[in-house]
Amino acid sequence: MESVGSIILYFVIAVAIVVFSVLTVTTRKILRSATYLLFTLFATAALYFSLDYEFLGAVQIAVYAGGIVVLFVFSILLTSKPGDKSEKLASKKRVLGLFAALAMLVVSGYALVSRCCMFAGKPAMEALTMHKVGETLMGTGEGEYLLPFEAISVLLLACIIGGVVVARKR
């Protein structure tokens, strides 16, 4: 039995996630879409906090909300022309998309519901200290991630170069 506060918090987060997700894809203005995405990402970060992964939540906010969404906004500003009207969805497309999404929902939902282990309660977890996160990230033993970390850094470097190369003016 959990505290009422945490239950309420959960529901707030869940409703936020659902509502803002739906709004992200249904709104017809692209800039609004990006804004709703930002809210969704914040809600997700909150979810991570509620699950005691503070570091992850912080990363989520910093990288996703702070970095990626800003990128989106800038690119939207760069690519939209002054007289742009908000796009209108073709009904056929919408039906197809709806069908795919619902099918996804049904199949996965059925799979979820039919699995009993999904109803396990939240077990206790010792506090995840920053120290531990750091050691895990920088260690070379089993279950430690120095190599992927380095790989990611190389990837990011490549991405920066690639981005410059692709986007630069000819």
């Binding site: 659902v18 692209i30 929902l105 109803f119 396990a120 986007a167």
Partner: protein
Amino acid sequence: MDITLMYYLIPSLIMFCCGVYGFITRKNMIAILISLELMLNAVDINFVVFNRFLFPGQLEGMFFTLFAIAIAAAETALAIAIIINIFRVAKNIDVRDLTKMKF
């Protein structure tokens, strides 16, 4: 009332389905990219949640998400670079007009 694993998975699933819907219906490539981010995020949630509920002593799920976020950032940056490039050439980022790769 217990907030079980299930309670976390359902919003994530809905989020994912929204991403699917958006990906298929939108014409603007940036909107498509946004839908993609939604889907990625939904998957991230799943990783974290499973990690937290099923293997609380380990950190694999969390770190996977961590790396996924990093890769998502890289991917977005590159994708946006491409989109801008396309826009420069085609003056347009409607995905339906970009069918040069067919046949």
